[in-house]
């Protein structure tokens, strides 16, 4: 059971009040992109064992989207942050490196 804090309304609740929205920080490739880029964007997802960034929606609460950084193996939540960003905020990276000193931030997070 994950316990998430929605950064939009400040409510901390367990995961049944939220809905997972898949991998975060995807770069969109739309019309005009190469087939390879489009395929990558549309179908290919990371499935890491360890630190992962995800989109979540507070579906039974304020209804807003946000981002969460968590560990897929231990289910530890490192933090949640606004959906209005295409990069991982520094304070989240700091929290992760605090807990996982060997972890390297993704280059194009």
């Amino acid at each position: 059971m994950l316990i998430l804090t929605c950064p939009n309304c400040g409510i901390t609740a367990e995961e049944t009040e939220f809905h997972a929205g898949g991998e975060a920080h995807l770069t969109r490739f739309g019309p005009g992109a190469s087939d390879d880029d489009f395929e990558q964007y549309l179908f290919m997802r990371d499935n890491p064992k360890g630190v992962h960034f995800e989109r979540w929606r507070h579906v039974y609460g304020c209804g807003k989207w946000f981002h969460a950084a968590r560990d897929t193996m231990t289910l530890e939540i490192f933090g949640t942050y606004t959906a209005q960003t295409s990069t991982v905020p520094q304070n989240i990276i700091d929290k992760i490196t605090d807990r996982r000193p060997d972890w390297q931030p993704p280059e194009t997070a």
């Binding site: 939009n8 309304c9 609740a13 367990e14 049944t16 009040e17 039974y60 609460g61 304020c62 209804g63």
Partner: protein, 191 residues
């Protein structure tokens, strides 16, 4: 004109550890937009007689009030008969600004829970910390009740009010009755 009648037409349940009653229709106007904008703030203050509440807050005085629903959404609560007039005031004030005010009164059902054990009745159904420290009068919580969305707030220490969609009114009433059945006190929050 036809009489507005609530989904459960005033059904009550008094045999359990909390008294549950389906209330007659109340007026509810859903408002979305920039909550700091004057064209929303001013008419709302005039209609409800209270300020726009802070995050997760609800300000109610005598059947009228405003509830915070999300960073860009409010719920204006008023007598059922006043909805049309209030909507007109809001629409006039909003004008061509990017905001929305819609009458949702008939889309909702309202329940009142009364008794010493209402905090645990709610806690059995929603993933919410209902302890007096975490959930006090003046706060509203949008969440789920078993399988359906709902929002509730404490009116005072022994009374809570709850809104849900009208289409699930019977389901929510049955849930509340089950959670409040005789002998089901948990006594987690003292009493």
């Amino acid at each position: 004109m036809s009489e507005p009648i609530s989904a459960l037409n005033g059904a009550t349940y008094t045999q359990g550890i909390a008294e549950i009653s389906a209330l007659d229709p109340i007026g509810m106007i859903s408002i979305r937009g920039d909550l700091a904008a004057g064209y929303l703030k001013k008419p709302l203050k005039k209609i409800a007689g209270v300020d726009i509440p802070a995050m997760r807050g609800i300000n109610m005085i005598g059947g009228k009030g405003i509830a915070w629903m999300s960073p860009d959404e409010l719920l204006l609560i008023c007598p059922y008969a006043d909805v049309a007039a209030n909507l007109e005031v809001l629409h006039k004030s909003i004008g061509s600004n990017h905001a929305l005010a819609v009458n949702v009164s008939d889309a909702r059902a309202v329940f009142r829970l009364k008794g010493a054990h209402i905090r645990e009745v709610l806690a059995k159904l929603a993933p919410v910390d209902t302890s007096p420290d975490a959930f006090a009068p003046g706060m509203i919580r949008r969440t789920r009740l078993a399988q359906v969305p709902a929002a509730f707030w404490m009116v005072d220490g022994d009374t809570a009010e709850l809104v849900c969609f009208r289409s699930v009114a019977q389901y929510v009433f049955d849930l509340l009755k089950t959670a409040a059945q005789p002998g089901s006190e948990v006594k987690y929050h003292s009493h």
